[in-house]
C-alpha cells in the first residue's frame, strides 16, 4: 500500500466535516423539533437553554455548557458561540493501491445572535476554504448572516421569516456532508446562499419554504436560483413523515430568470423523509429518498436517445442511530446514489458508520467511516475512509 502523509491546509477540507449542524438523531428520540435545542428554525449552530441542558446531560463529564463555560458574560439579548473542528485518518480512492493519510482542519467559526423582541440578527463568520486565485480576500468569510422575525420571541415554535444568507431547509439535514442526500441531494457543503424563507414549526408539524438566488458577492459553489420546500408531519411522538421539493436553475451568469429557459440547465428534486423512533431498543431510524431530474439545454438533448438530456436519478440514505449509554451515539447507515438509472453501473452504494463520544458538554470525538461500491464493483474500484474527528464547541 502506498501511503502518503499530507497535512493539508485549511482549504483542503476534503472528506468529512462541515460546519456544525444539528443532530437530527436527537429529534423524536429526545426532542420533537430542531428548535427544541437550537435557536435557528433550521437547526444547527447556536444552542438555546434546552440545548445546553441536553449537551450537558449527554456528555460523560458534564461541565458548564454555556459559551466559554459561562465565564464570558453577555447581555440577555446576545448569544455567542463557535465551533472548532479538525479530522485525520485514512482515505482510499481510485485504484486498489491508492490510499492516503490525511489530517486537516475543518471548521473555525464564531456565531453571534442578537435578539430585539421578535427581530433578531444572526452572524456566522470564520475561516473557509480559500479561493485559490484570491486567497487574501477569501480566507475568511461569513457563511450565514440573516435577519429573522419570530412570531413568538420567547417560545420555540410558531412562524419564522428569515432573509439573508443561509442554507435552505431541505430534507433530513444530516450533519455529515458526504452523506449522499447532502452531497447529491441539493444541499452540498458551503452551498449556503441568499434567500427568503417562510417557516412554521410546532411539535406536530413544520414547513419551510425558501426562495434563493445565486450569491453574486462571492464566487459560490453553485450558480443557481430556485426554491426549496420541506414539510414534516409528526403523526405521533415516535413517527414522522416529510415531503421535499427543490427546483434549481443553473444560471450560467444570468441573474434570476434566464431569457432562454429552454437552454438552461435545471434540476428538480422531489422526495420523502421518514423518522421512526423505536422506544424499546431506543433506536431512531431516519430515511430520505429523492428523485432527481437533471435537465440540460435543448441543444444538448438527443431526440433519438433514451437517455438524452434528462438524466433521472435517485439518491437516498437510511440511518439507524442509538445512544450507547449516556454519552456515546452510534449511527449505522446506508446510502444509494444513481445519477442516471438508465445507465448500468453508475450507481454507488455505501455503508456509513459514525461513533460520537460526547466527552464534555463542549468536546466531542467522532469516528467516521465509509465503505463505498460503484455499481457493486462493476463500475469502479471501491472507495473508503476512516477518520477521527475532533469537535470543540466554544
Amino acid at each position: 500500500m502506498k501511503t502518503i502523509l499530507f497535512v493539508v491546509a485549511l482549504t483542503a477540507t476534503v472528506v468529512v466535516g462541515e460546519v456544525a449542524e444539528a443532530y437530527p438523531q436527537f429529534q423524536l428520540s429526545r426532542d420533537q423539533t430542531c428548535t427544541g435545542c437550537h435557536i435557528s428554525p433550521a437547526g444547527g449552530g447556536l444552542l438555546n437553554e434546552n440545548g445546553f441542558t441536553v449537551a450537558e446531560a449527554t456528555s460523560q463529564f458534564g461541565t458548564a455548557p454555556e459559551f466559554f463555560y459561562g465565564k464570558v458574560p453577555s447581555p440577555d439579548w446576545l448569544v455567542l458561540g463557535g465551533d472548532l473542528r479538525g479530522a485525520g485518518g485514512l482515505l482510499k480512492y481510485g485504484g486498489p493501491e491508492d490510499s492516503a493519510i490525511y489530517a486537516f482542519p475543518m471548521q473555525v467559526e464564531l456565531y453571534a445572535h442578537a435578539k430585539f423582541g421578535p427581530i433578531s440578527l444572526q452572524l456566522t463568520g470564520g475561516f473557509r476554504p480559500a479561493e485559490e486565485t484570491n486567497e487574501a480576500a477569501t480566507t475568511v468569510g461569513s457563511r450565514e448572516h440573516y435577519l429573522m422575525w419570530k412570531q413568538k420571541p420567547d417560545e420555540n415554535e410558531g412562524w419564522y421569516v428569515r432573509a439573508g444568507r443561509f442554507m435552505p431547509v431541505f430534507g433530513l439535514r444530516l450533519a455529515e456532508h458526504p452523506m449522499y442526500t447532502r452531497r447529491y441531494g441539493g444541499t452540498q457543503l458551503y452551498s449556503d446562499t441568499y434567500g427568503l424563507a417562510i417557516e412554521y414549526v410546532d411539535p406536530k408539524f413544520e414547513v419551510h419554504v425558501t426562495g434563493f438566488v445565486e450569491d453574486y458577492l462571492i464566487d459560490p459553489v453553485e450558480h443557481a436560483n430556485g426554491v426549496a420546500a420541506y414539510s414534516e408531519l409528526r403523526l405521533s411522538e415516535t413517527l414522522s413523515f416529510g415531503a421535499e421539493f427543490m427546483y434549481k436553475s443553473f444560471t450560467n451568469g444570468e441573474f434570476l430568470l434566464s431569457k432562454d429557459l429552454d437552454n438552461d440547465s435545471r434540476q428538480f428534486h422531489i422526495g420523502i423523509t421518514n423518522k421512526l423512533y423505536l422506544q424499546g431498543p431506543d433506536i431512531l431510524l431516519q430515511t430520505e429518498i429523492q428523485f432527481v431530474n437533471q435537465l440540460v439545454g435543448k441543444d444538448n438533448r438527443s431526440p433519438d436517445s433514451k437517455v438524452g438530456g434528462a438524466p433521472k436519478g435517485l439518491v437516498g440514505n437510511l440511518v439507524a442511530s442509538k445512544m450507547l449509554g449516556d454519552f456515546l451515539l452510534l449511527d449505522v447507515g446506508t446510502g444509494h446514489y444513481d445519477s442516471n438509472f438508465r445507465i448500468a453501473n453508475l450507481d454507488r452504494d455505501c455503508v456509513d458508520l459514525n461513533l460520537h463520544w460526547f466527552t464534555t458538554s463542549h468536546l466531542e470525538l467522532v469516528l467516521n467511516g465509509r465503505y463505498e461500491l460503484i455499481g457493486f464493483n462493476k463500475g469502479a474500484d471501491p472507495g473508503a475512509y476512516a477518520l477521527l474527528q475532533l469537535h470543540y464547541r466554544l
Binding site: 458551503y190 464566487d219 450560467n252 437533471q294 445519477s339 469502479a380
Partner: protein
C-alpha cells in the same frame, strides 16, 4: 415501516429495471454498448464534471483549486482551454488530454498526482463518456 419498505423496494425496482445501457469495466477499460448520451461539453459538464468535481473544496468557483472550475459550462470552457493557450483537452486525442488522463492514471509512487476525483471513485461509464466526447471532437468546446 411497511410503507418505507414498499417505497424502498419500488425505488429499487425502478432503479434496476430501467437500466438499458450496459457498461462493464472501469477507467480506461470501461466499455459501454449503445451509450447514446450526448457527448457534448454541456452534457459532460452538467452531468459528470459538476457533480463529481465542482464541490466546495475542489473545482468549484468557491475554491478554484489549481485554477480549474467545472461548475458551469462557461467555466469549464475557460478551464479546459486557458487564455494563455494551454489546454487540457485535445479534440480527437483523449490519450493526450489531461482531463481524461487524470481520471484513469495510477497515483505516483509517492502519492503525487492522485487519480481524480480523489475523494471518491468515478464510475467507469462516465469516464468512458468523457473519452468518447474527446474522441468525437469535443463537441461544444471552442479551441483556437
Amino acid at each position: 415501516m411497511y410503507r418505507l419498505i414498499v417505497v424502498a423496494a419500488t425505488a429499487g425496482v425502478i432503479s434496476s429495471g430501467c437500466a438499458e445501457i450496459e457498461c462493464e469495466g472501469e477507467g480506461a477499460a470501461a466499455v459501454c454498448v449503445d451509450d447514446t448520451r450526448p457527448a457534448t461539453l454541456e452534457y459532460v459538464t452538467t452531468t459528470i464534471l459538476r457533480p463529481s468535481c465542482a464541490n466546495a473544496q475542489c473545482h468549484s468557483s468557491f475554491a478554484y483549486t489549481y485554477e480549474y472550475r467545472f461548475d458551469t459550462v462557461e467555466h469549464a470552457q475557460e478551464s479546459i482551454v486557458k487564455l494563455d493557450g494551454s489546454q487540457i483537452v485535445f479534440p480527437g486525442d483523449p490519450d493526450a488530454s489531461l482531463l481524461y488522463l487524470v481520471l484513469i492514471r495510477d497515483t505516483g509512487p509517492n502519492g503525487e498526482f492522485p487519480r481524480m476525483p480523489y475523494d471518491q471513485p468515478m464510475a467507469g461509464a462516465d469516464i468512458a463518456l468523457v473519452r468518447r466526447w474527446i474522441e468525437e471532437g469535443a463537441d461544444g468546446l471552442v479551441v483556437p
